[in-house]
Symmetry: C2
Subunit: 169 residues, 2 copies
DNA sequence: ATCACAAATGTTATACTATAACAATTATTA
DNA sequence: TAATAATTGTTATAGTATAACATTTGTGAT
């Protein structure tokens, strides 16, 4: 259940490919700023910084890993500091929780209206995660639930396995 | 993230309906005994008792809740006692982990060959959970992953919402 | 501007979840 | 029945998350 299991530092096309990841970060922060401003939500320094740290890779990152970094910049950072920021970012739909790892990852496509639950492919070897957009699966799940009279409000879909790169190595 | 959020003590047709739950338990224990015997796996007293406790309701139950009960019967029960039993039961596919709750639930249909990952509908009101069998969703997920060159090894699918009963109350 | 209020952050403590490491005991089988 | 493997006992600790209350900072009304 530990979230800090070591992973190789490698990327794969589906998630990060050979791209300039700085652009991901800038883009995510820009989107976040705009969304928050539209909503009258305050993207404070701490919140912005935590979002930036979460976006620092395409791997889910745990709260205490974030805290370690934050502490170097803010002597008085404590667990509530990071958990509050995370709670805010989750509420705004800017990040997702990866339940199977007790970790968090940036949402590449924050919904302007309301947050959505992501669906993820997570490589067990390199640790990279990519968010799927599969409305079909969502519809199937909803209808399957509906058959039982059950109404879905939120869901967790996380698939673990090997990304293309790690299948070779 | 606490697993002990209070839930109403109510059942719903999709999961438990108005049934004699003792039969569920007996049935589950019988199946477990047979499976283990076939496999040469040892369903010891502790393991059997933990399985029974997990089956004591259709709600996922946490390790420390199990431990509380176990302690009344076995003064020296400690976290490893219950986690080891859970690990065994997970390996044998007799129970599933509910990631969104750090809790465990019995598998009503343990696979004679290898364990499967469950898919669950979990009521946020009464807490009951029911396992779905939706091979369609599995296939969709696999093909969707395959489009990215990703090979799925295991997955988590958990949907939270309201069961039929709790929609009325 | 400044007061009053709300929101965010600081701070300390603690609850909850899970595993490491090694010792003792119990089963299995040669 | 001795040797070995599997299970359980025991203590300690790592990792994840929140409660509760104090302080500071931002916001809007006047």
């Amino acid at each position: 259940m530990a979230t800090s299991k070591k992973t190789k530092q490698r990327d794969w096309a589906g998630s990060t490919g050979s791209h300039d990841h700085r652009l991901c970060i800038v883009d995510a922060l820009d989107k976040a700023a705009e969304l928050c401003s539209q909503r009258g939500a305050r993207l404070t320094q701490i919140r912005r910084r935590v979002l930036e740290l979460i976006w620092s890779s395409h791997r889910p990152i745990g709260a205490y890993s974030l805290l370690e970094v934050l502490k170097e910049e803010r002597a008085n950072a404590a667990p509530p500091t990071v958990y509050r920021a995370i709670d805010f970012l989750l509420e705004q739909g800017l990040v997702h929780r990866i339940q199977s790892q007790n970790a968090f990852i940036g949402c590449p496509n924050p919904d302007p209206n309301q947050p959505h639950n992501g669906m993820f492919l997570i490589c067990t070897d390199c640790g990279n995660a990519v968010e799927l957009e599969e409305s079909k699966i969502d519809r199937l799940l909803k209808s399957s639930a509906s058959n039982q009279g059950f109404v879905i409000e939120s869901r967790t879909v996380e698939a673990a396995g090997l990304c293309p790169d790690c299948q070779l190595n």
